[in-house]
Point group: C2
Chain length 239, copies 2
């Protein structure tokens, strides 16, 4: 396997060649004093400061400061990143085509540059909303004793219903699932589905299933005559 490589305090020309050589092979890291400008969907500008710049082989560009999970400036893949020397300073230019977004990193002092071979692999996260829906589809009793499954991700004119059941009284039960604290938006979403089926002349109830619900969301829920079932992703994950 190819090994890593690095340069200490390289000349701009040398640094540019290094970046261009390795940028398509793995992860390139550049550390130095830089000023950054971004223009695209919005615009921003960062004053000169020492930062960490990361270039990935798929065209990702990240400019990280010493705090926060998020890069301060970035270009998502697929972007076109090129290193060049302008007026004796290293410049990394990143262009995303659609939408057109440009990031320009001027690095008057390049302290360190490194290349790290790395790869990427498929993975899976457990405990997503999809997992919860799947679980509930096989355990509809958790929502309503004696109910039967009508469908999962059922498309309607006002959006896709997470779970659709039929209760013992013959009524439709629309279920909206959230994997986290449910807010007002979730209740309004559920209300739309219920109103849709009601307008079709169906007898229908609405149930919100989530690990928790905010006070204001609960107020709406009651106001609209909807129901709540507490259910956490943990229950799903361990099932």
């Amino acid at each position: 396997m190819e090994t890593y490589a690095y340069l200490e305090s390289p000349e701009p020309q040398e640094a540019a060649r290094f970046v261009n050589t390795y940028k398509r092979r793995g992860i390139v890291v550049v550390y130095g004093l830089c000023e950054v400008s971004y223009e695209g969907r919005a615009a921003a500008r960062l004053e000169p400061m020492y930062r960490l710049i990361i270039i990935k082989r798929d065209g990702t560009l990240l400019v990280h400061e010493s705090e926060k999970r998020e890069p301060r400036i970035w270009n998502p893949p697929p972007s076109s990143n090129v290193a060049l020397v302008i007026d004796g300073t290293l410049v990394i230019k990143s262009v995303r085509s659609r939408p057109l977004e440009t990031v320009i990193v001027r690095i008057p002092i390049v302290s360190f540059a490194a290349f790290f071979p790395a790869s990427s692999a498929p993975y899976r996260v457990h405990g997503t909303e999809k997992d919860m829906v799947r679980f509930l589809a096989s355990n509809v009793g958790l929502i309503e004793e004696g109910a039967t499954l009508v469908g999962v991700e059922v498309p309607t004119a006002v959006g896709s219903v997470d779970l659709l059941l039929r209760g013992m009284g013959g009524e439709l039960i629309v279920v909206e699932v959230k994997r986290d604290l449910a807010g007002p938006e979730a209740v309004h979403q559920l209300k739309r589905y219920v109103e849709f089926f009601a307008s079709k002349g169906e007898k229908v109830r609405g149930v919100l299933a989530s690990p928790d619900i905010s006070a204001s969301a609960y107020k709406y829920l009651k106001e609209y005559g909807l129901e709540y079932r507490r259910l956490s992703p943990k229950q799903v994950f361990t099932a």
Copy 2:
């Protein structure tokens, strides 16, 4: 200013000391063969592979692969990150308290470890939704000829209205602003506000202002008797 530091193929003990020494001072980068597990709001596990691990002084932990803007595994600030040696291998353990989330990175082969002094500074992005709202508040004519400003970010029982105007006919005009393509959710949001004021006995119209609108969103808009004004952040940014 403190300078950078690095280790090549360090012993686990040495690497652990390095990480713990520098983790609160700036950005620490570790490159090596690692397997990663995460458990918290959800759960995931990454098989052994060469990856880039980043630790920031605010407790951020990022595990990056060679593609995508997003880290594969992470813990956001403020988390508590500690390096230790278990059974002769470097382990970085990250714990976030609320909610409780744990990331464990086992690194049997540490190829490279580096510390980069860096800082963090306030910054500003231009062309946000807030910018658009501010601009429209000073140029209500772009929404409705002859209208007057009633308020900005006006709180209601169903949420906060971006912009509230009064038309020449004495009617209220509720304006929902989006800085990007408006989808169905934006239309439903607007509809809620309009219904709220209508229920108060107000004569009211609803206007959605955005650079573009999806086909299905437009269908809802028309169906609900709402209006559309095309307006891009660029117009704001250059104003």
